[in-house]
């Protein structure tokens, strides 16, 4: 049901993304992203990983006016620019569900440190998009890695860190020019060590994991009350409470309009978080950094909750001590939704490589993960957790033409993204650097000539 609503909403806004929003409350900060104009492009003769779980050899992808029109063999289209993709691979644009580009940009000076509102353990009222610096050189570097969309999240210092925002990976002067049209907001929550360390260090709650849980539950009780009073007032019963940005966000989660992205490493803590979600009637869209997802992969499948994981980060803190390379593969074979995420300006440039390391590790333990399955970890499954899989994440007719042409198998260390299309427009061309974006910050440095290539 919710998915359908999102799809209808998305279609409406896409059709009329310049039209005046009806509700004042949503008038601010809406997307004003406009796809760059593009005609028709026919990429021919590639190995196509569609993102739907299929691999099509020697196949074509036809893009017209920013949309994928057809995927198959022997396509033709009058006036289309022909791109010879023989020996090359095509995949959907890569999507990173966990990025801090713009909120913790390069250079990482104190002046730029805008990702954690470390003033209270619950700051549901803050929105990551209000911290995004669009000139972060990391966006361009990520584009060269094939990334066409990403979610920018607040950090994990707080139990409830605020709203995340999904962006198209396009240059903009403001975040509104980058916002993914009609994408739902994300909501950042954090388990475990970080909140208790940050606030415990100041001698205020939470200082323990049980303090963490009490903190979430207290916030949801308050939010449910606010939501109920708002609903009653709308029915003419009683006075509406004063608008409260924190409770408005939390109520949006309870109503299913805002998707929960929960930083949580340990399996036992993920299980507790799933119970809290049951208690208050919300859904966890994805656990992030889910280092122990392999220990509870069956629970994830049952709850339709994705696990967003690194390929191999482990041990940098206690809750990451049980990290294993095969994590994502074991989540996959349990029938749950596996995602590879970056949380890093370097990692986001090579999500295909991080995925490849998992494929290899799984193979050594006798688990075969096919490329057409693994590609979903950085495309379709990522889109699903962000609530944008109706419009991107796979190469299917009618979807946004967010497409990467790789100069070989994307899971080889020797392969690079050769061309990246965003809504059908050529956004990056490895062989023609003059067309590639250059951020304000890197003007005049070698980075603009080479670093981000």
């Amino acid at each position: 049901m919710k998915r359908l609503l999102v799809a209808i909403l998305a279609a409406t806004l896409l059709a009329a993304c310049e039209s005046e929003p009806a509700d004042d409350r949503t008038a601010s900060f809406t997307s004003i992203y406009k796809a760059r104009s593009s005609g028709a492009t026919l990429l021919r003769g590639a190995t196509v990983l569609t993102g739907t779980g299929e691999r099509l050899d020697n196949s074509d992808v036809l893009i017209v006016d920013g949309k994928i029109v057809e995927v198959g063999e022997g396509l033709s289209h009058d006036g289309a620019e022909l791109v010879d993709a023989d020996g090359k691979w095509l995949t959907p644009g890569v999507i990173d569900v966990h990025s801090h580009l713009g909120v913790y940009p390069s250079p990482s000076t104190e002046s730029h440190s805008d990702g954690n509102e470390i003033s209270a353990p619950v700051t549901a009222e803050v929105w990551a998009e209000h911290s995004v610096w669009p000139h972060d050189p990391g966006f361009v570097a990520a584009l060269a890695g094939g990334v066409t969309s990403m979610q920018i999240l607040p950090g994990s210092a707080n139990l409830m860190g605020g709203r995340g925002v999904t962006l198209k990976n396009v240059p903009g002067r403001s975040v509104m020019e980058m916002k993914f049209p009609a994408a739902p907001h994300g909501f950042k929550m954090a388990c475990g060590e970080n909140p208790k360390r940050v606030y415990g260090g100041r001698g205020v709650a939470p200082t323990t994991r049980m303090g963490n849980v009490a903190g979430y539950r207290a916030a949801w009780i308050e939010a449910a009350d606010y939501r109920d009073k708002m609903a009653a007032a709308a029915d003419g019963k009683g006075e509406a409470p004063t608008r409260d940005l924190k409770l408005e966000t939390l109520a949006g989660v309870l109503d299913g309009e805002i998707l929960v992205h929960n930083h949580c490493y340990r399996g036992d803590e993920m299980a507790v978080m799933l119970d809290i979600a049951k208690e208050f009637g919300y859904k966890i869209s994805a656990f992030h950094h889910a280092v122990e997802a392999y220990k509870i992969a069956d629970l994830l499948a049952e709850n339709d909750t994705c696990a967003a994981m690194w390929a191999d980060w482990w041990g940098f803190k206690m809750e990451a001590y049980d990290g294993i390379r095969e994590n994502a593969a074991l989540v996959e074979i349990a029938g749950a939704c596996a995602i590879i995420h970056s949380d890093s300006g370097i990692g986001i440039q090579k999500l295909n490589q991080e995925t490849a390391k998992v494929i290899g590790a799984a193979a050594r333990s006798g688990v075969d993960i096919l490329p057409e399955v693994a590609i979903q970890w950085i495309t379709k499954n990522a889109a699903k957790s962000l609530g944008i899989d109706d419009v991107t994440g796979t190469l299917e007719a009618g979807k946004m033409a967010d497409v990467v042409l790789w100069n070989g198998d994307p899971f080889s260390v020797y392969t690079r993204a050769e061309r990246v299309y965003v809504d059908g427009a050529l956004a990056y061309d490895r062989n023609n650097p003059s067309i590639n974006p250059v951020t304000d910050f890197t003007l005049g440095t070698a980075a603009s000539a080479g670093g981000a290539q």
Binding site: S106, Y294, K295, M318, G345, Q349, G360, G366, F411, G451
Partner: protein, 432 residues
């Protein structure tokens, strides 16, 4: 199928004593030595050393023959920077033995004394091909008592990942110093003060070399450094111990080159985001560079010209390059082959990339007479790979250190195997 074969191999090999002869036959051997790469080659290991390498060698009678047909054989990999055996968990969970703080010991602070060969990180990195490592002291934020780190962090050591009690290969393999933005934090106000502190320390070491006896007799001025630190610096001014400088900005690298020239000492650049801008000068000064080639972002103003092609540019100028995992993430030292593979795309040759993670660190840290390549007489650190070792999906079938075949298990593979069948009714704690 493959895991079964490996398991069988392992069963055979663990029963072989080091004194026995092992013959690895049929693989493509990249010796990284004068013999280059040899197809369908045999490597003979006797008493822990390489006894023979070549394409026309028959395994001696009684040798334990390992079929490596269709596989790739390389020297063990050498990670040139990190804290293996000096840390278990990075944050809020026990000590980080690499950290130097306080004025009492700087140059003489020696991480070799803290190395733990049984750290879980050792096996986890070993099964992925890392056989030797430089372990380094490091600077860190001031502690709760206000002790700060110094421009000079102390002595680094070369260790092997055999897990044996005696895993130290070479003490005092380098002296770690912090220049550039890092140095500012520990020197006070400016990178100029970091240079001054370092030069003062070298001047005092030189003076002590000349006047140590007079000093002992109380007939010489006092030094600002302690005697143990002055002793530790003697190897540096003699040219035996290289300065391992954490430094990124081109101008700071130029200052390091001047310093190494002024004192006629050896140096190594670690980080080196802008080292490519002084490639010629670094080559002339014989200064090697440790890079993370994927580290192409202007993460701070010292790294404003960071770029992916650094390794290729440096190598083209004849600078010796090495790779450390991107952010000094010791737990994943095992990812240096990914860095090496990526460097080939930016223009480094495949042979040079493999050399960067094997022989070059051995040379730079003074142990190339023993390890770093598959050459007759060297210690047998050998890896059998199913395919190209730089490829992301390639994990070792078998690792040998000191000629011994080591178990291909770690705490992580045990965790994996315990949870692999998520549908099992048996509680995980009983799945042993």
């Amino acid at each position: 199928m493959k895991p079964l074969i490996v398991a069988t191999l392992l069963g055979l090999l663990t029963s072989v004593s080091a004194a026995q002869t092992i013959a690895i036959v049929g693989g493509t051997v990249h010796t990284v030595g004068p013999q280059g790469s040899i197809e369908n080659a045999t490597v003979i290991i006797t008493d822990g050393r390489i006894a023979a390498v070549g394409s026309d060698i028959k395994p001696p009678d009684g040798a334990n023959v390992i079929d490596a047909s269709g596989k790739v054989v390389t020297p063990g990999l050498f990670t040139p920077d990190g804290y293996l055996g000096l840390v278990e968990v990075g944050l809020s969970a026990g000590p980080l033995d690499a950290v130097q703080r306080g004025e009492q010991f700087t140059a003489s602070f020696d991480v070799a004394e803290a190395f733990n060969p049984r750290s879980t990180l050792i096996a986890i990195n070993r099964i992925e091909g890392i056989t030797r490592a430089l372990i380094v002291p490091r600077a860190a934020e001031p502690d709760l008592l206000g002790y700060t780190s110094n421009v000079i962090s102390g002595l680094a050591a070369v260790v092997n990942l055999s897990g044996n009690t005696n895993s130290l290969d070479r003490r005092a393999a380098a002296l770690v110093v912090n220049l550039g933005e890092g140095g500012v934090a520990y020197a006070g106000t400016s990178r100029a003060s970091a240079q001054l502190l370092l030069r003062n320390a070298l001047d005092e070491a030189l003076d002590y070399r000349e006047h140590g006896d007079a000093f002992e007799r109380g007939q010489h001025r006092d030094y600002t450094l302690s005697l143990t630190d002055l002793e530790a610096l003697q190897g540096v001014i003699a040219g035996d111990i290289p300065l391992f400088a954490n430094v990124d900005r081109a101008s700071d690298i130029a200052a390091l080159i001047r310093l190494s020239d002024d004192y006629n000492i050896r140096a190594i650049v670690s980080g080196g985001a802008e080292a490519w801008m002084h490639a010629e000068e670094l080559a002339a000064a014989k200064i090697a560079v440790i890079l993370g080639p994927a580290d192409n972002l202007p993460a701070n103003f010292d790294r404003i010209n960071a770029r992916s092609e650094s390794a290729a540019i440096l190598a083209a100028a004849d600078v010796r390059v090495m790779f450390a995992d991107g952010d000094g993430h010791t737990h994943n030292a095992r990812n240096i082959m990914q860095s090496a593979g990526n460097a080939t795309v930016a223009g480094l040759s495949w042979d040079d990339s493999l050399r960067a993670i094997t022989l070059t660190p051995a040379e730079v840290y003074g142990v190339a007479d023993r390890v770093g390549s598959i050459e007759v007489g060297k210690i047998a650190d050998v890896i059998i790979w199913p395919a190209d070792p730089l490829e992301l999906t390639s994990y070792p079938d078998q690792v040998f250190i000191n000629g011994k075949s080591l178990p291909m298990t770690s705490r992580q593979t045990l965790l994996r195997d315990r949870y692999r069948d998520i549908t099992s009714d048996e509680p995980p704690a009983y799945r042993n």
